[in-house]
């Protein structure tokens, strides 16, 4: 096949491209330029958006022996990921920009362009398995598994995707990179949000949304227990950085229970008030096949690298509802609920949806 390898400049995508070549594909490497001004994005070795990363990707492509280009996706990325990220926080939700980037950029704008240009598929270095059966499964390296951020992909998108790393651990990928003479073999993993240079999400949001002082209210007593400079800066389940004026009457720590943009209020309460047994979600995508007609017994994951909980998922008119077997703390609207079917050959992604409450 003629395939396009998305190369971030990191070790995973470099090895994925090399494996695609080894598998006999005609591979072209592409680095996505996502920053309108590369200097404003995260610098150093951990990014996916810097000039240095672009050079690393180019060098890896040289070593692998494939053509390499840079595609300017900055405008699309800004509109579909960065602006969306800010708008979601402003609406009191907690978005996952990596997931959004996969949904809108890598497996949409880039994939569509690739197909139009005559490519059959896109290859990425995501840690997830996508086998002949067309099912998306967790990576063998559960700690590095990225099936959660891929669960937004439709069947049509997955049919044109290749994830060559799903059967390998990260350690194996690094060792292979070293064997193949790829200089990125020991490049550190990226963790933070690539478009927030200093990792200061709150500062990033404040710059775009401005200060908007409001009250922090205790859910138990109804009393105002503090103030904030912008409700958008809070995430459900957050404990640190609340700066409450008064300790709670019961003396126990307080957590963010909810954010209400309309009244610009952050509501806090004790840990147990965070517990949720039912999750509702919208915009479902049935990655694993048809939209189910009966309730599905499965496991759900409610945030990236979050715990997995057994649940019953039922399709509703406007999305889906999941009844959790045991309560979970800190479920934030805007995150994805991903349903998995446990499987010894790798848990299978059934689908995902965006949590509304």
């Amino acid at each position: 096949m003629r395939v396009l390898a998305a190369m971030s400049g990191g070790v995973d995508s470099a090895v994925a491209a090399a494996r695609a070549v080894a598998a006999g594909h005609d591979v072209t490497g592409v680095h996505l330029a996502l920053a309108r001004n590369p200097q404003t994005y995260r610098t150093g070795a951990r990014g996916c958006c810097t000039l240095e990363d672009s050079r690393d990707a180019r060098r890896a492509a040289d070593v692998i022996g494939i053509p390499f280009y840079v595609w300017d996706m900055a405008d699309r990325f800004h509109e579909d990921v960065v602006d969306d990220f800010v708008a979601e926080y402003a609406a009191g939700r907690t978005p996952n920009p990596c997931l959004r980037c996969n949904e809108k950029i890598k497996f949409a704008a880039v994939l569509d362009r690739a197909v139009a240009l005559g490519f059959d598929a896109v290859v990425t270095g995501h840690h997830a398995r996508l086998g002949r059966d067309g099912l998306l499964r967790r990576s063998v390296d559960v700690a590095k598994d990225q099936s959660y951020v891929l669960a937004v992909l439709t069947r049509a998108q997955l049919d044109r995707s290749i994830f060559p790393l799903g059967d390998s651990t990260k350690a194996e990928v690094r060792a292979e990179a070293a064997r193949r003479g790829l200089a990125v073999a020991d490049k550190p993993d990226s963790h933070d949000i690539c478009f927030i240079a200093d990792g200061d999400t709150r500062g990033f949001l404040a710059q775009r949304l401005g200060e908007s002082p409001g009250d922090v209210v205790d859910a138990v007593s109804g009393a105002v227990v503090g103030s904030h400079t912008g409700a958008y800066a809070y995430t459900v389940g957050q404990r640190r950085g609340l700066h409450l004026d008064r300790p709670a009457p019961d003396g126990r720590p307080r957590y963010v229970l909810s954010i209400t943009p309309k009244t610009n209020t952050v509501t806090v309460g004790p840990a147990e008030a965070l517990e949720v047994s039912e999750v509702r979600a919208t915009r479902p995508v049935w990655t694993g096949g048809e939209r189910p007609t009966a309730p599905v017994e499965c496991e759900v994951q409610l945030r990236a690298h979050g715990d997995v909980v057994p649940a019953t998922v039922e399709v509703s008119a406007d999305g889906l509802a999941a009844e959790l077997r045991r309560p979970v703390r800190g479920v934030a609207a805007g995150q994805a609920i991903v349903a998995y079917r446990p499987d010894p050959a790798g848990d299978v992604v059934l689908g995902s949806a965006t949590i509304t409450g």
Partner: protein, 391 residues
């Protein structure tokens, strides 16, 4: 492979390569006093004389440099600094909107860091400068102008400028005129003295010599403050151990290119005209950019409406055809060409452009290969570009 990017760099001539290797085997620093040094110095001076002879300059006007970008920077910054030092109010730089970045960015740097004020000369839809615009500019600001810099021929769209006319206008006001002739030497007749310019940039790798060596022709009566300080090897204007082998090969290439210019231009222009005609037949909507007459012989520059140049480049590259979007890159990302924008093209047309440049190794087979691949590539690029609009 069909190499249609000779304006980016062109293969070294055999005689230049041989001269390079033969010289590089010899030891000797041209500044040393012993026999080996004298031999190297002789090679350099012979080369200087050869370059001067074919370009209509005196040997003492040839300053060897590390290539075109250095020569442009030396001319622009060096002449600016020297003129400002001579008279503090000579701080205006007049340049054109279509210069190569080696000039453009040097001028911008002077504006940003040295308090220079800039008068940008516009171009018409063919990318051509108008000497009358320069006359107006100098009539208004002439006594404050440190220098005028305008390229001999444009690297993207191939338009050849009326350099002698422009230089004459500058001379009327006593303002030194620099021209970046990197794309012109060997392609069109270039004579330093006859053109009336005060400074002229030429580089090796665009005319069959090695990369990393070039020259600034600088008239004896024009002062330039050095960029590089050190041994003062080149007229105290440029320091650094002379690259004897590079200079020898450069001189061989310049001589061959200039002496062969007429025959070369006739042959390559005919092939270029054939390319243009066949591209027009294959893709009737194509827009041919640049001046149709006053044009570099090897240059064919098009906009392909509804396509993105970088998509076309990728598709043609996959078919073994090397061409260029002709625009500057930042992190490899194609920016819309400032040249086309200056010519009045909109962003889409600027982004839809491709440059094909022929050179001394070009054959009809290269054109055949392009025409065989182009229609399908345009078709695909168009489908890819169509994805952008509906959101």
């Amino acid at each position: 492979m069909a190499y249609l990017d000779h304006a980016a760099t062109t293969p070294m001539l055999d005689e230049a390569l041989e001269a390079y290797v033969a010289t590089a085997r010899e030891v000797g620093n041209a500044s040393s006093l012993h026999a080996a040094g004298r031999r190297a110095r002789r090679r350099v001076e012979e080369s200087r004389e050869r370059v001067a002879a074919v370009l209509g300059a005196r040997p003492s006007e040839v300053i060897f440099t590390g290539g075109g970008t250095e020569s442009d920077n030396l001319a622009v910054k060096g002449i600016f600094w020297a003129r400002r030092a001579a008279r503090g109010d000579q701080v205006r730089v007049v340049s054109s909107a279509v210069e190569h970045h080696a000039v453009l960015d040097a001028v911008d740097w002077l504006a940003g860091h040295e308090g220079a004020e800039v008068g940008w000369l516009p171009v018409d839809a063919a990318g051509r400068l108008d000497p009358d615009r320069l006359r107006v500019e100098l009539a208004a600001h002439g006594d404050r102008v440190a220098l005028v810099t305008a390229m001999w021929a444009n690297n993207e769209v191939g338009t050849v400028q009326p350099v002698a006319d422009l230089a004459a206008v500058a001379a009327e006001h006593g303002v030194p005129f620099h021209t970046d002739a990197i794309q012109a030497v060997g392609q069109v007749p270039v004579d330093f003295a006859a053109s009336g310019v005060a400074a002229l940039t030429v580089t090796g790798h665009k005319l069959g010599g090695p990369a990393g060596v070039g020259a600034l022709l600088l008239a004896r009566d024009v002062a330039a403050t050095p960029l590089l300080h050190g041994g003062g090897q080149e007229r105290d204007v440029r320091s650094g151990t002379l690259d004897t082998a590079g200079i020898v090969a450069f001189a061989v290439a310049v001589e061959a290119a200039v002496k062969g210019q007429q025959e070369y231009a006739a042959r390559v222009a005919a092939l270029r005209d054939e390319l243009v005609e066949r591209v027009r037949r294959a893709v009737p909507e194509v827009i041919f950019n640049g001046d149709p007459v006053a044009r570099l012989p090897g240059n064919a520059h098009f906009s392909f409406p509804g396509c993105e140049g970088d998509a076309l480049l990728l598709l043609l590259d996959a078919q073994g055809i090397a061409c260029s979007t002709g625009s500057a890159c930042s992190a490899g990302v194609a920016q819309p060409s400032h040249v086309l924008l200056a010519m009045g093209a909109d962003d889409d047309r600027a982004r839809s452009s491709l440059r094909f440049t022929l050179g001394h190794t070009s054959t009809r087979a290269d054109v055949d290969a392009l025409i065989a691949a182009l229609p399908a590539a345009v078709d695909r690029a168009r489908r890819a570009a169509a994805l952008r609009t509906p959101r």
